[in-house]
Amino acid sequence: MLSEYWPVIIFLAISVGLGTALLVIGGLLGPSKPSVEKSSPYECGFEPFADARMKFDVRFYLVAILFIVFDLEIAFFIPWAVVMEDVGLTAFAAVVIFTLELAIGLAYLWKKGALEWE
């Protein structure tokens, strides 16, 4: 089983190497004549004011939390999907209840308007 992971390590290494190599080649081939105008961040015609790293709507934070919750649910579903037939109907009933619990959560989100974006 471990030998199956050799190509994975090589793939990871080549992918990262490819990205780095392209950046290095670009850095070597391209000119480098920085100027104030060039390096100022893009704005629609006016001088950039204040730091661009501003605070964000709390909604993005909520999406990230919900993502974790549902990602975990998928993580629980996957082993069940693999052994579904061996563990039979009892486990299926358990999974249905598990899904219902999450469905209640989703319904609550919906009701509270947490899924509304404006």
Binding site: V82, V87, T90, A91, A94, F98, L102
Partner: protein
């Protein structure tokens, strides 16, 4: 197996160095990146142990989801980098206390299980070629540990409710689109036809 040992030590060293950097670098965004590296090395070690499902789920859940949340929060709070380390000395004793308690807990569990010496951790048997970590976990989880599985569902539900309670605030004057209302809109509710005399035309 020399090659396995090399891999083990390489990833262990990366993991320890990265974990140390997590708490020692000044920029919190770098901390998150080092934490990701730590998780990766841990996943590699788990794969060495033959726990491939757990290893990949570790990457999927922690690197793919939890760390994204961390980055979001860091960006949302817009941390002032110069002030991050201010309370370091003041909070050090508290931090050490928490660390000591956690270490003690781990040791108590090991002692309780009667695993105190290196000989209590034998080298695991080599796994057979058709061993599937995912299937093994599935078998255990959905027979022996069915109740904990349901409890996990409840915990996730509580997490959803808690997330809303903590973050949702009703804001005034927010306009949202309601598709059912838009679809059900009828011309009778919107358009009113009225009779008006036309200017310059005489009624006969």
């Amino acid at each position: 197996m020399l090659i396995q040992e090399i891999i083990f030590y390489a990833f262990s060293i990366i993991m320890i160095v990265a974990a140390t950097l997590v708490i020692s670098v000044r920029n919190p965004v770098y901390s998150v990146l080092y934490l990701i590296l730590t998780f990766f090395s841990a996943a590699a070690l788990w794969i060495l142990l033959g726990a491939e499902f757990l290893a990949i789920i570790l990457v999927l859940v922690y690197v793919g989801a939890v760390m994204v949340l961390f980055l979001f929060v860091l960006m949302m709070l817009n941390v002032d980098l110069s002030r991050v380390n201010e309370g370091f000395v003041k909070n050090l004793p508290l931090g050490l206390l928490v660390a000591a308690i956690m270490l003690a807990e781990i040791l108590v569990v090991l002692w309780y299980k009667g695993r105190t010496g290196i000989e209590d951790f034998p080298i695991p048997e080599p796994l057979s070629a058709d061993y599937s970590n995912t299937a093994e976990i599935g078998q255990r989880l959905f027979t022996q540990y069915l109740w904990p599985f349901e409890l996990a569902g409840i915990v996730l539900l509580v997490a959803i409710v808690a997330a809303i309670a903590l973050t949702m605030r009703k804001r005034e004057g927010v306009k949202t689109q309601s598709i059912p209302k838009q679809v059900q809109a009828d011309k009778r509710d919107r358009v009113k036809l009225i009779d008006m005399p036309v200017e310059g035309v005489e009624d006969k």
